[in-house]
Symmetry: C2
Amino acid sequence: MIKIAIIGGGNVATHLANAFSKTNYVSLVQVCARNIEQIEHLKNVTSITNSIELLKKADVYVIAVSDDAIGSVSNKINHQNSLIVHTSGSVEMQSIQTKGRKGVFYLLQSFSKNKKVNFDEIPFCLEAENESDLQLLETLAKSIGKKIYHINSEQRKQLHVAAVFVNNFTNHMYKIGADICNKHQVPFEVLQPLIKETAQKITKLSPEEAQTGPAKRNDQKTIQNHLALLNAEQQEIYKLITKSIQQNGKKL
Amino acid sequence: MIKIAIIGGGNVATHLANAFSKTNYVSLVQVCARNIEQIEHLKNVTSITNSIELLKKADVYVIAVSDDAIGSVSNKINHQNSLIVHTSGSVEMQSIQTKGRKGVFYLLQSFSKNKKVNFDEIPFCLEAENESDLQLLETLAKSIGKKIYHINSEQRKQLHVAAVFVNNFTNHMYKIGADICNKHQVPFEVLQPLIKETAQKITKLSPEEAQTGPAKRNDQKTIQNHLALLNAEQQEIYKLITKSIQQNGKKL
């Protein structure tokens, strides 16, 4: 039985605590949050505390706090023989301040407080300093999930910026689509099947193979017609992405 | 029983022909394509021809050809009492050359030749010059689909450019994500659950409400870290979309 403790009171900490509390192979010995009210709802499933210094002994401490606090929080854990991991996509493993063992337990997904999480679908990106700790993290991950990857700190940084493109920037493309619809009294739901299809397509084809449209075809007539319909800010984005799609075509 | 004929040999024409050939309320009397080999496979379900001039009498002619050919094709149909519609997202209804009745039967989805189409999921965007023709198109649409919208030519033009943002430009965001992954030996599949989640989220929240990430939070430290990881072309896109997300924040 692996004993773990979770430090943090936010979405990631809460979802992890709920998931680990239901497994057979992992014992969630404690959850710790500075503001103990955030984790009050967990007191039926495990011990809760607001004092890092008084944390119970565990095999693995999972720090799920804001990026800036990872260093100072890890520094306060008094169990130097245990593995200490953080859950951040953008912080290096070496930011963990301990003389002992370090690792990363990063879940690549955006979590919402009230939305149920299907851990089977979420990629677990694991990193450790040696093979036995990596195995330990893998055992933890497999107790609640299915998609396990070994990702080092450099790869994780790259994944984090790639995630901004496919998540935040994609969402902004949806936003512009919604703005255009709203302005012309067209319900945004008309675009939703296309959005779904676009996201599904790249599970079968690479995004490069999946590309279609006026930029790819270099259909100047349609491109000019489209630009005439857009405001200045939308035009700037339309032109830049069209250029980028076409430059990519030339590189092939 | 409504009699229809379809003109065209491409993806839209083929998928529509297959769908209409299976309905009870619509009779597909003929399919016509210049290159008859394209529609050879339909000869078991309906009459086929390569001559527009010899088209059989129908209540509705559905022109599913390239945008540039809609005018000339419509001009050759010798049945002036019938309703003639095209299926294009970017061509005005008035481009149909007939002294008779005109309309639009636009399916907002990207069709692939070999991929099965679920018409229940596809928005049918209908336009006609009068209420009775709109009802006629609605009956046609309902015989094979479920999502029916009345969209005029101006709205349809706007939808078409909005679709470029949510489909082609979103796919390019996936492409950049995949490029970053490939460069650093990370499998692109790690990003796919996030892509799926991002697309699903906006069926519950507006894209504006769904936005997260460093641009939205104005997290300059992360933004600068990200820029340092990107090539010049990716940086330009990152900066412009970040600026656009932030400008939008200010407008609220």
